[in-house]
């Protein structure tokens, strides 16, 4: 403990240290501000959409309370499915700038491939990614940690002062670990404070677990990189060699491995072609259109309870029957598409421990509520809502029954149900645990390599 305090004082006495810390604090603050701005914009959008949706529902309710309505008057207007703003947007922008957070669902377009429109964005910006807190924590935190701790003993070994230190009778491993902690603590402390600030900026309440887990992830990730610094020092003969090796490890874990994983995933489970999906769905629609009358009569044979008086289908029920047929034809194609992407993400989940950077990034976006799984849940719930919408209107159209006051209670409204906390928490906890395990492995490897003999050889 005494050594730790001493090392800390030594470290803080250097002017370069303060420069490093000020720079790091600056990038953290900028990252938080950027993420928070994106979060506020999402909040504004959501408010506008919710207001519009609420007004429409009020109008329909009031009208129905006065008189019965023809369902066509109501069904023509698309319902909006909204993914509520992320719980901790300042933590990570994640996929929220790419994947749409709302979808307009029209009864007459249920079978068409969703044409999800995200915000207008410069594609080059999507390519570059945002300068958010997750970027600072996953990409830059290791660089700052390594800059602070890359020379734990390699420089001393080079200069020959290492012998003198070890002659004091300290255990080389404990001395190195203490030094690594002393140099890493100020940087890590800033990172943890930034994580807490991002949590404090959250507009929603009850994000305590998310922030606690985020802090755990950041801590484990930081310790991993300090262990890397120790490992590098256990091998390197000079400070320059230690810096080179540390840089190479960073490039490998943060730059190369994630892109390699991306390539592997896409080669293993290539996404089916969107272009073909679009063209195929049009072919199915044309086919169903031609068989329209036949489709609707066979539908009434199967569902006599829904048949209108005289079994005579009107334009609307014909359109519905055609659409149902397109849906039936396209379901397997759509499913194949969704499955391929799900399989890709499963591979990513499995292999995320290949690099702690991947595990940390996935965990932070998950906690922010801007990751893959929350968007996936939204898409799945939108699909269910489409069925609900269809189930609500279809019998009314076929029987030509009006919408009445009694229908108000069951009027379909999209409401996003968040994932169970235990689901995301266990995903993230696994990530944090995995990173901590990797950190322990690196530290053990460093310890096994370190002995006074090796250090001074």
């Amino acid at each position: 403990m005494k050594v730790l305090g001493l090392e800390l004082r030594l470290f803080l006495a250097e002017r370069a240290t303060w420069l490093l810390l000020v720079l790091f604090a600056g990038t953290l603050a900028y990252g938080i501000a950027n993420g928070a701005r994106v979060g506020r914009a999402a909040e504004d959008n959501a408010t506008t959409i919710e207001k519009g949706s609420f007004q429409w529902h009020t109008q329909v309710r009031e009208a129905l309370e006065r008189q019965a309505l023809d369902p066509r008057q109501v069904a023509g207007r698309p319902s909006v499915a909204l993914l509520p703003p992320a719980p901790v947007p300042a933590l990570a922008v994640g996929q929220s700038d790419l994947l749409p957070a709302h979808e307009s669902i029209s009864l007459w377009r249920l079978a068409k491939p969703a044409e999800a429109r995200s915000e207008l964005e410069n594609p080059a910006r999507l390519l570059a990614g945002r300068f958010d807190l997750a970027f600072v924590l996953v990409w830059l935190l290791p660089l700052f940690l390594l800059a602070a701790a890359y020379d734990l003993c390699a420089g001393d070994r080079e200069a020959g002062t290492l012998r003198m230190v070890l002659a004091q009778g300290v255990s080389p491993w404990r001395w190195l670990a203490t030094r690594a902690l002393a140099r890493g603590t100020p940087v890590l402390a800033l990172a943890l404070v930034a994580t807490l600030v991002a949590g404090a900026l959250a507009e929603q309440s009850g994000v305590g677990t998310r922030i606690a887990l985020a802090a755990a992830v950041v801590l484990a990730y930081g310790l991993f990189w300090l262990a890397v610094a120790a490992l590098v020092n256990a091998f390197a003969r000079s400070a320059a060699a230690a810096a080179t090796a540390a840089g190479a490890v960073w490039v490998g874990f943060v730059l190369v491995l994630p892109t390699l994983l991306n390539v592997v995933v896409e080669s293993l489970h290539p996404s089916p072609s969107r272009a073909e999906l679009v063209a195929e769905s049009r072919a199915a629609a044309a086919n169903a259109e031609k068989r329209g009358t036949e489709l609707v009569s066979s539908f009434y044979r199967d569902h006599p309870e829904l048949a209108p008086p005289g079994m005579q289908a009107d334009m609307t029920s014909r359109m519905l029957a055609v659409q149902d047929e397109v849906g039936r034809a396209m379901d397997p194609v759509q499913q194949r598409f969704q499955d391929a992407i799900l399989r890709q993400q499963r591979v990513v989940d499995l292999w995320r421990f290949a690099s702690p950077a991947i595990a940390a990034h996935e965990a932070l976006t998950d906690l922010a509520g801007t990751g893959y799984w929350r968007h996936r849940a939204f898409q799945d719930q939108v699909a269910t809502f489409k069925d609900e919408l269809h189930g609500y209107y279809s019998p009314k159209f076929h029987k030509r029954a009006p919408l009445t006051k009694a229908d108000i209670a069951t009027f379909p409204r999209f409401k996003f149900v968040e994932e169970e906390p235990s689901t995301w928490a266990s995903r993230v906890a696994t990530s944090a645990f995995g990173i901590a395990l990797l950190a322990t492995l690196a530290a053990l490897l460093a310890a096994s390599r370190l002995s006074a003999r090796v250090l001074t050889a």
């Binding site: 896409e266 080669s267 996404s271």
Partner: protein
Amino acid sequence: MILRVARKEFVDAWRDGRFRLGAALVLVLLVVSGLLARQQVERARTERAAATELERKNWLEQGDKNSHSAGHYGLNVFKDTSPLATFDRGIEPFVGTTVFLEAHRQNQSAFLPAQDATSMRRFGELSAAIALQMLVPLLVVLLAFGSLAGERESGTLRQVLSLGVRPRQLVLGKSLGLATTLAALLLPAGCFAAFLLARSSSADASGMWTRAALLAACYAAYLAVFIAGSVGVSASTRNARTALTILLSLWALNCIVAPRLASDVVHGFLPTPKLAEFDFEMQKDVQEGLDGHDARSKRLEEFTRSTLAEHGKSSVDQLPFNFQGLVMLESERMAGEVFDHHFGNLWDRIQAQDSAVAWCGLAAPMLALRAASMAFAGTDFAHHRHFARAAEDHRRDFVRVLNEDLMNNARPGDHSYTAGRTLWEKLPVFQLEPLSPRDAWASARPGVLALAAWLVASLAFLFFSAGRLRVVSA
């Protein structure tokens, strides 16, 4: 003398185990990424061709219907991938690949490949361009940081200079040696890439070889900046360790921090409009006109009056053609003006942002190189805009043909009029004329100029640091 120094440096580099390892890794990454990208691009092309064919069949076999209904039935056109996307995919994963063409509306391209990918996509892509932009500069740093500072530290610099070698000769020789080392590594990879390109399915695309040559020149300039800059820093710093710290920090600023920082800062000054506002303004202008004076209905009334006056008739039923068809032609024309205005503004804004980021390349050369590289590879926004524009022109032609048919062939007031396959066949298949290298140059210019400025500045820095070369640190 310069050549002798260069030769020594070259031999030294290849003897260095770390460099050999790094070089081997970079080479493997380059080849693997090139082959995989080629496979992906070829697959995308095949899929696109299949979809285009199916969509053409859908269109031709849609059956007899009113020609305006055919306009609502619409058709999809699909974006083709540039052959050089195997080298640099640029923004391709982040722009839509499909545009739905229909009456009354200009749609944006939909279905971004990145939306159909995992979150790993956001870590960046493994492409030959990325390897050259980020990893090869690291190799340069690794080779160069000790080139002079290390010799000064170990005392050999004094010996070398005492032999009568001039500092400029030494510094130039070292740089040349590094350049030769890199060339020995990258030229075979380049030849392999050229071989793949020559065999690709669209090797005859216009100006592809000019574009490839321009790309090669840009990357050569970028790496030359790194070589000159790194040797210059090594000549000016006290010891190898300081040189390494400075070079690695500059590398991280250039390759990791700058792209995101520049893009966020530029968007702060030049924001992209919001989707809801964009839609709202466009709808408003479609209804009220760009000048906001006259409502659409009023302008159409005026149009009716002037048409009747022109033909000397008192009612639209007396006109020798279907007036409804003419009205649709006119309203498409009016809406077209509004679309051109709004989409033009949006696309101008995006290009202004891109160009501002490229000028930020004056501070970080990677930004300049990236802009130039995407432009010459045909994967930047200017090229996407070209596609979107061509698709919209195709839409207008197609809707015009349909409305003209309605105007000339349907009797006034006849709602049962239908057209058939003969008319559908009149519509040509969508073909995109590729942008010429000259057009690509227009979009690459800011990046190329910033890169040229860096080249001049880094060479000047190299000469300057050679002039101040000291055998011991001050």
